[in-house]
Assembly symmetry: C2
Homo-oligomer: 79 residues x 2
């Protein structure tokens, strides 16, 4: 199965990279941008064929390695 | 409107960061991982209220700044 994981900064956590992109978009002439937040995206190819087990495995991977749960949220999508 | 953009490496483009994560997952005892690819994720908050115009604006932003279209694909979701 394939798992798609989005890791985003929690609300209130400063995102200087997002701010830089917001500034760069402004310099390039893109108006009307109220904010940009950057996160990470992972595609994990799993041998597991059971949906529930795959989701549980990916959740454990996120908690242990992929996301820093102190400052980041993650969302898992199994496809 | 809010736009969510996923930027992923094209097939065939080497992803050493994904390979490193794959290796680290193996070291942590997670078996059955066939592959990991890392991408980027952006949430862009737009003043624009027209869906089609918002999508066109984000597409232009991706082509000009957010994605390197030589080696990366992007997918836009307007919410």
């Amino acid at each position: 199965m394939k798992a798609k994981v989005k890791v985003t900064l929690k609300n209130g956590v400063l995102d200087p990279q997002g701010k830089a992109i917001e500034g760069a978009l402004g310099s390039l002439g893109f108006g009307g941008v109220n904010g940009v937040r950057q996160g990470k995206y992972f595609e994990i190819d799993l041998a597991e064929t059971d949906r529930a087990k795959a989701e549980a495995a990916v959740k454990a991977m996120c908690d242990k390695l992929i996301a820093n749960t102190v400052i980041e949220n993650y969302a898992i999508e199994i496809a």
